[in-house]
């Protein structure tokens, strides 16, 4: 069942990530003085990649299982490395997520005026990396894209960021690279452990019954290495500092999509390719994630800086994703992927309101100094409320379905943890409502709020798109859940197969 058929000769997945590399070459030759042209090129290609992602979404045949739009070329045959692309029910929604976030992020980047050429080149390279990770079916290729997605962040935060940007950028980069070094150990272990001498993920997934001791030993570095990027406790500390320091579009991409790369890699590689190791370690990981969920939410409550609050809320929400991965059942995994999508859109909306609409005008993010913004910027207030309600799991918004599914899934496996995790819901509601009150409705006559320039069309369009998706998925979650459920089924079965 697909709504649209693409001609099979079009390498659409390659086109998606190349649509982010091509403008890099274009922008490199445009003189830096033509600022608007650079912005138009960047935004135009971001829109193109979104359109391509939507095409993939529409053309994906939900009736068929397995990978679709497969492209395979020999790359480094000496080592069993191939250029191998394909998407399944997990990655199609994530591609869509990335398309939405990069397009709206590009719209939110129009105010960047300093060193504009480098900014757009790095932003687009980063996005190419993210797209690449989602479409790659070869471990080596996936790792290459993974690093490509992480590294530009250092310069993006360090040059265009705000609060403690150099510290934030360095901390983030070192944490993530340490994570990928750990993950690389695990990937080499799969390569040698399986004895197949290939990096082909589906082939490796079909032969996972290699030495159990080996898997138990190397699952941990693999999972933890990727989980660092997903912000798992106790390796989450880079994330709030990084988010706060980053410029708006980078925060959006980072919290919205990049952290999902970590969770996605945990799911696709660690759980799928080392199920015996997973069966051994998942309970321990589940206990760590409870800290993410509850501790993250509690810390978010006491933040005074709105961006820090969102940063810690991301830690908490990504904790739910990781907890669902640790539960490892069909329902929990479905919830995990849905939460990745919902949280990605929600966080992007949060950051575009707080980082772009509010901070760029008022030059403060302190909750106490922003009171009464609702009268000055009613549109921003509405958008913030929509994102906030989705974050606290209000029915009718995407976040509700995701969290609901996760709690059901986790309950099947760890009822006690599910109960503890539910504490995060009232805490989330508390800090979101508190923030809404302080920022938009508290009666403070703050000097920051006088003579604010009106919102630009880019800001309004971007925010509206994100809000519309949150509401759309909230009312019709079926457009994603069926696809995701089919996508995670092989992984859930893999885990079941080893007695999980």
């Amino acid at each position: 069942m697909n709504m649209l058929t693409l001609p099979p000769t079009i390498p659409i997945l390659s086109l998606i990530w190349l649509s982010m590399v091509l403008p890099v070459a274009l922008i490199a030759v445009v003189p830096a003085s033509r600022a608007t042209l650079i912005r138009v090129i960047g935004t135009g290609f971001a829109l193109l990649s979104l359109v391509l992602s939507v095409l993939v979404f529409l053309a994906y045949d939900q009736g068929q299982s397995g990978f679709q739009f497969v492209e395979q070329l020999a790359w480094i045959p000496q080592l069993g490395i191939a250029y191998y692309l394909g998407v399944d029910g997990i990655t199609v929604p994530l591609l869509l997520l990335n398309g939405l976030v990069i397009f709206t992020g590009a719209l939110m980047s129009w105010n960047i005026a300093q060193r504009i050429k480098e900014y757009w080149i790095l932003l687009l390279l980063l996005t190419a990396g993210v797209y690449g990770v989602f479409v790659a079916l070869d471990l080596f290729l996936l790792f290459v894209f993974y690093e490509l997605a992480v590294l530009p962040m250092y310069l993006l935060i360090g040059v265009w960021g705000s609060t403690r940007r150099e510290y934030g950028a360095m901390k983030l980069t070192l944490f993530l690279m340490a994570g990928s070094a750990l993950a690389l150990i695990g990937m080499l272990a799969i390569y040698f452990g399986s004895g197949l001498r290939t990096f082909d993920i589906p082939r490796l997934a079909a032969n996972v019954n290699f030495e159990q001791q080996y898997q138990v030993l190397f699952f941990l570095p693999l999972f933890i290495g990727f989980a660092v990027l997903a912000g798992m406790f106790p390796f989450h500390t880079w994330s709030p500092t990084g988010h706060v320091a980053a410029p708006t579009a980078v925060s959006m991409l980072h919290a919205g999509v990049l952290m999902k790369l970590g969770a996605y890699a945990c799911l696709r590689i660690a759980l799928w390719l080392m199920p015996h190791g997973a069966a051994e370690w998942l309970p321990a990981i589940a206990i760590l994630t409870i800290f993410n969920v509850v501790y993250g939410a509690t810390i978010a409550m006491v933040q005074r800086d709105a961006k820090f609050m969102i940063g810690y809320s991301s830690v908490s929400h990504m904790g739910l994703v990781m907890m669902a991965l640790a539960a490892g059942t069909q329902i929990a995994l479905t919830g995990a992927v849905l939460q990745m999508f919902a949280h990605g859109i929600m966080t992007a909306l949060f950051f575009s309101v707080v980082g772009r609409m509010v901070y760029e005008r008022t030059h403060t993010r302190q909750l106490g100094e922003l009171g009464g913004l609702g009268r000055v910027m009613p549109f921003a207030a509405v958008m913030f409320i929509i994102a906030g309600l989705s974050g606290m799991g209000m029915p009718g918004l995407a976040g509700f379905w995701a969290e609901f599914t996760i709690f059901i899934g986790v309950w099947e496996r760890y009822p006690l943890l599910a109960i503890i995790a539910v504490i995060s819901i009232p805490v989330t509601a508390a800090y979101v409502l508190h923030a809404i009150y302080r920022v938009f409705y508290a009666d403070v006559d703050s000097p920051h709020l006088h003579d604010l320039p009106p919102l630009t069309w880019q800001e309004i369009t971007g925010a509206l798109i994100l809000a519309a998706v949150l509401i759309g998925v909230g009312f019709a979650p079926g457009i994603l859940t069926d696809m995701i459920a089919a996508g995670v089924r092989p992984i859930a079965q893999q885990l079941q197969g080893v007695g999980w």
Binding site: W75, F143, V144, L151, L174, I185, R197
Partner: protein, 549 residues
């Protein structure tokens, strides 16, 4: 064995290098020698362009001769070109069919050919980097020393006999001592030259001492086996040494001591811990372009030598790098310890550096640690597999040379403009010259091992090979050591992108220096994205190394 006329095409690149060196030295006499700037510039340009052209041609001839691009099929029609090419390629190995060493002392196998290509290619890029320098006092001398040193490196790669080995090392090193101290009025340069000379002489002594032990051990075996008829020149050849050592049975301590001293002597040349002390001082003080040459070509030559000596002379003392007490030992075990030490100490020592050249010196030491891992991996008994250490090592050497020349090249341009090679001299480079900053980013990320640049694949392949040799502990140490490494590489980029420039005028980038850098950057990208063709070529070396054991 005597010299045959048919050996001439086999050592053609070396002959051409010698001719080139003499030509540069001689042609300088015909230039106008005068005190004015213009005359000095013309002399400098004349020598530099002759050196660049010559090295470029020798590189091209070696490439044609190697047959990696194109081999004349036996069925091809005879015409002028096919005959020329056929003559050039005669005596060059095809497949695993290796001709005997020339006069028992210089092998012309694939390993030597790769070495020639690497050294002449690196020397070519270095000469381009020096083209736009302020004119040298004696350009003829400078460039002919550079070419002579390159010749020495080629001989190092092919030496299969102890005396040849020693002469090759000296021919490489002595010109480099002079080149490191070339700026006679600069205290640091003089210090660098002096230090380099003292350390180099000391390491040569160690090497000779080790060689004497090995020779003594082997010749006493020969006496015991009543092989007294063997002339000295035969006993010193690597193949005879190996056979005599094998005949003696269980290796005696004296042989191991000899091997240890030889490894220590070569260890100085390749700057691994604990023999690295000279390198930061020398790298910092020497003219930047010469630092680039010393840190790449000279280090690579050391590795070629190490590979050949250990593989052909000591295959039965190979040991094991597996961390099990009973099995650990031999030279792989020892090199594994040295590699681990090198990786840890060099990466930590690089952290507090404030001088860009010094920082890159420590980074070069750390890279030597990775290269040592390649030497260990290729010795593993099952390296006939698709994954093999020789390929990993040589690929890493090629990539390391290219990216390091690039990084030092950028420092050279910056130092020429700002007069300083501190990290702070890089401040705001992105605002002063974005193209140069982009090139520097490519080189630094490649050195740090970030995909898709070649530095990543090089590290990745080495780690695969070492893992396969069961030294997983070494892979883990290497991976962990990349994290502090990333920190200090990012400090360079922080200066380039995040620090405000001291002056905001654009930084001029001389044409030929940029050309050299662009070539290097393109190579770093292409070798990273499409390593398969180069791997195919390097696999031929592996076949021979296995056959030669």
């Amino acid at each position: 064995m005597s010299f045959l006329l048919t050996d001439i095409p086999r050592i053609l690149p070396e002959i051409l290098l010698l001719v080139l060196a003499l030509l540069i030295l001689g042609s300088d006499v015909f230039e106008r020698w005068a005190a004015d700037e213009q005359a000095a510039l013309e002399r400098h340009r004349a020598s530099a362009s002759l050196a660049a052209l010559g090295l470029g041609m020798i590189f091209a001839i070696t490439l044609l001769q190697s047959g990696y691009l194109y081999t004349v099929p036996d069925t091809a029609d005879s015409n002028y070109f096919t005959n020329l090419l056929r003559n050039l390629q005669s005596g060059i190995p095809r497949g695993s069919n290796v001709p005997l060493p020339v006069m028992d002392m210089f092998a012309t196998d694939h390993l030597t050919i790769i070495g020639r290509l690497l050294f002449t290619g690196a020397a070519f890029l270095i000469v381009l980097l020096t083209y736009d320098n302020p004119p040298l006092r004696n350009p003829g001398e400078f460039y002919s020393l550079l070419v002579l040193s390159t010749l020495g490196m080629c001989l190092m790669a092919g030496a299969t006999e102890l005396i040849m080995l020693f002469l090759a090392i000296e021919l490489t090193s002595i010109p480099l001592y002079v080149l490191a101290g070339y700026f006679r009025n600069d205290r640091q340069s003089v210090e660098a030259g002096m230090k380099y000379f003292l350390y180099g002489a000391f390491s040569s002594a160690l090497l000779l001492y080790g060689m004497s032990f090995v020779y003594g051990y082997a010749s006493s075996t020969a006496v015991a086996a009543d092989l007294t008829a063997l002339p000295t020149s035969v006993i010193t050849s690597f193949d005879t040494l190996r056979e005599l050592i094998a005949q003696a049975g269980e290796p005696a301590p004296i042989l191991l001591i000899g091997m240890l001293f030889m490894i220590a002597g070569i260890g100085y040349k390749i700057a691994i811990v604990p023999f690295h002390g000279w390198s930061p001082d020398v790298y910092q003080g020497a003219p930047t372009t010469m630092t680039a040459f010393i840190s790449t070509a000279s280090k690579a030559a050391g590795f070629f030598l190490l590979l050949r000596v250990l593989d052909t002379v000591f295959p039965n003392v190979v040991g094991n790098p597996i961390p099990v007490f009973d099995e650990f030992g031999g030279w792989t075990g020892m090199l594994a310890l040295l590699a681990a030490l090198t990786l840890i100490i060099a990466n930590l020592a690089a952290l507090p550096q404030t001088n860009a050249k010094r920082l890159l010196a420590y980074s070069g030491i750390a890279h030597a640690g990775f290269l040592l891992m390649g030497v260990i991996a290729q010795a593993a008994p099952f390296s006939t597999d698709r994954l093999n250490g020789v390929v990993a090592l040589l690929y890493y050497l090629v990539v390391y040379a290219v990216m390091n020349i690039g990084a030092f090249g950028v420092i050279a341009i910056v130092a020429q403009d700002t007069g300083s090679d501190e990290i702070t001299a890089l401040n705001g480079l992105a605002q002063r010259n974005l193209g140069l900053a982009a090139l520097f980013t490519v080189f630094v990320f490649a050195l740090a091992g970030i995909p898709p640049l070649a530095g990543f694949f090089a590290k990745f392949y080495i780690m695969l090979a070492v893992w396969q040799a069961n030294a997983i502990w070494l892979v883990v140490i290497a991976l962990i050591s990349t994290i502090p490494a990333l920190y200090y590489y990012l400090r360079l980029l922080r200066a380039v992108f995040m620090m405000p420039p001291d002056i905001s005028t654009p930084m001029p980038a001389p044409r030929w220096m940029m050309a050299s850098l662009v070539v290097s950057a393109v190579l770093v990208l292409v070798l990273g994205l499409f390593p398969a063709p180069l791997l195919d070529v390097l696999e031929q070396v592996q076949v021979q190394v296995i056959a030669g054991r």
